[in-house]
Amino acid sequence: MITEFGNLFLSVALSLSLCSTILLFFKDSVDTNIRHNICLKFTKFSFLLIFLSFGLLAYAFLIDDFSLRYVANNSNLTLEKVYKFSAVWGAHEGSILLWVLVLSAWAALIGIYSTSLPKKFVTDMLSIMALLLTFFLLFILITSNPFDRIFPVPENGRDLNPLLQDPGLIIHPPLLYLGYVGTSVPFAFAVAVLINKSIKIEWISWLRKWVISSWMFLTVGISLGSWWAYHELGWGGWWFWDPVENASFMPWLAITALLHSLIVSEKRGIFISWSILLSILTFSLSLLGTFLVRSGILVSVHAFANDPERGLYILLFLTLIVGLSLILYFMNSSSLISKKSYQVSSKEFILLINNLFLTITTFAILLGTLYPLITSSLDLGKISVGAPYFNFIFSALMLPIVFLMAPAIYSSWKNTDYGRFKKLLSSLFFYSIIISYVFMNFIFESDIFVVYLAIFLAVFTILSSVVKLIQILLIRRDEGLFDKIISTPSTLFANSFSHVGIGVLIIGITISTYFSEQKEIIMKEGTSVVIRQVTVKFIGVEDKIASNYSSQVGIFDTFEDKSYKLSFFPEKRTYNIQKNVMTEAAISSNLLRDIYIALGDKFSDDSWVVRIYYKPFIQFIWYGALLMILGGIFGIFGKEKFPRKT
């Protein structure tokens, strides 16, 4: 029954979406109210149906219904309940169903929360969202149906990929998809604008909130992913420039650019055509990422099974949808150009440079990611671009972007008062140099110029954002602090938090990259090793049996100044069904440092390969991400302007 109902729900959702899409072609002949009514109802109902089919699949996992091929391939009787649930999106078919669920959720949300926009425009957007839904539902039903049966029904399933049996991986995909698929909202907006050849500034304020939401979810998803990699892969790394990481990072960069260009469009009525193009670009990069992950054309730790048929289907859709929207842009964008001019000293100009560099960075990463494809199709041999290319190009291009953050915060629209601006910035500049110099000389000694530069830029950004916020809070002396905080526009908090977040992130990356210590050694039981004043003693290894894996648990005691501090229990797990060996590193984190111990292979009877890392400030990476996420939340829910004084 699960198969029948699952297929039925998805097919009905498909027909509803198809109808909403077709309505777009009758936009001039059908009354707008009727069209709006139909599209909105169909969108909500499609969401409900997809939600139900998703629920059915989850139910099939929970009751171990191995007559479904997808369940049989990705679950097992002994799998923990919570992982049975997260296994729903553990492989291709289910995760693409999650994709569709999230897409239909966004469609329903913009249908409901768009009363400030004209009905005609909202209806066009809903039809475009329905077009995307139509494609992905077809894709599921034709190539990737999670409700397909298997016969004979196996007694037990093949188990969920052990890599995915981790708490971080339960919420990482849904949150990432919320952001990833959320880029369809600006896309639908852009295409609707291009079809109608008109746009109003109020619509841009509406769009900005949705773009911030998508940006925030992408930030959450990406940082969770890196947090997971750090904990689970056992190499102490947190970012690998893997094609699939890049696939989520490129839309992030593009949507960050979009976020900034929309501010300019909203405040000054310029860059509108550019914002529209960026909206298309952002969603195209999301689609491209989906294609890269599902087609298996690049080698990646994340890639799903190599399936050219699925890849071809997504690629054809990508060609169609991106091609059409770019042609539409080519034909209709000239009506969106504003004749307003702006000064080199204005905020708009700085944000223009920000956009320029963010876009170049996006394309540099795109080039690196696709490089293996380019060389192989031009017969230049199999080459892959590794981390050195990305690290170099990314830091080089980020430098000007970060450097411009402080000037951007203090500049004004149209024309900046140069005298005041210069005075403030030069004192901030001066204090930042002193602070970073003191920091680098007394805490982390280094003579590497790049490290100084990065720390200086981070301090400069943090200091300017914080000072700006304090300035604003101090302006109105007559109110209490609490009242001031309440009455300050939350966009200012959004701005400050996310830029401070970037600064904190840069400090985390720089310090943990340049000042980490690591030891990869063979340790005999009972021996000790010293890493950065911490003595690590290897006590021994014990066996442990859990319901679906057996594991070897290393026992390590650490001492500082000869007194016992704490014990570490890194594990090497062998999962019963798929025989994969997984590393569970043991990590002790505090504000200033992580100690990270991973158990490697057994070398002889009583000695093991052990990896020990001492990573200062690495948690700053996720603190920074957290601040950016907070900034995003302020941006979504807060009010925009100071209340008018009565």
Binding site: V299, F330, S376
Partner: protein, 173 residues
Amino acid sequence: MTSKKSILPIIFFVMILYFLFSGLGKDPTLIPSPLIGKKIPEFQSKTLLDDTSITEKDLLGNYILLNVWGSWCYACTLEHNNLIDIYETNRISIYGLNYKDDKDSAIKWLKQRGNPYKKNIIDNKGDIGIDFGVYGAPETFLINSKGVIIHKHVGPIDKNYFKNIILPLLKNE
């Protein structure tokens, strides 16, 4: 004036598409095996069913296929009937490398599904697999009578694969 500039994204997009389409269907893991044209690596192990010792020397003397498999591997179950088919129509000796597997479940698996293998080499830790440069199961090596690896295939093989790829190679030799 503006429309001239706005054609740039289209041109750029077409370029990207060219590379994406050309990459489609090519297998990125198809790195030419460094072992092709070389002798098979030395190994020493036991056979799965009769528990006698086996080394690389036991594979010499005839053209053989060496098939890497495991009872844990879903693609191997799909491939298995093809192997039986290939064995029955072509009578080529097929050796199995039982890769990272549990001995009892491997034996049970063979009893259930039929056994096209002349002998199965036990490699429960995957050490022999490493020497052969195995990425994962299933994988198939074509080895000549002197023990030189002529061809390697990643993923399941079928009748057509044998007819179109392996037979011509055998004729060339």
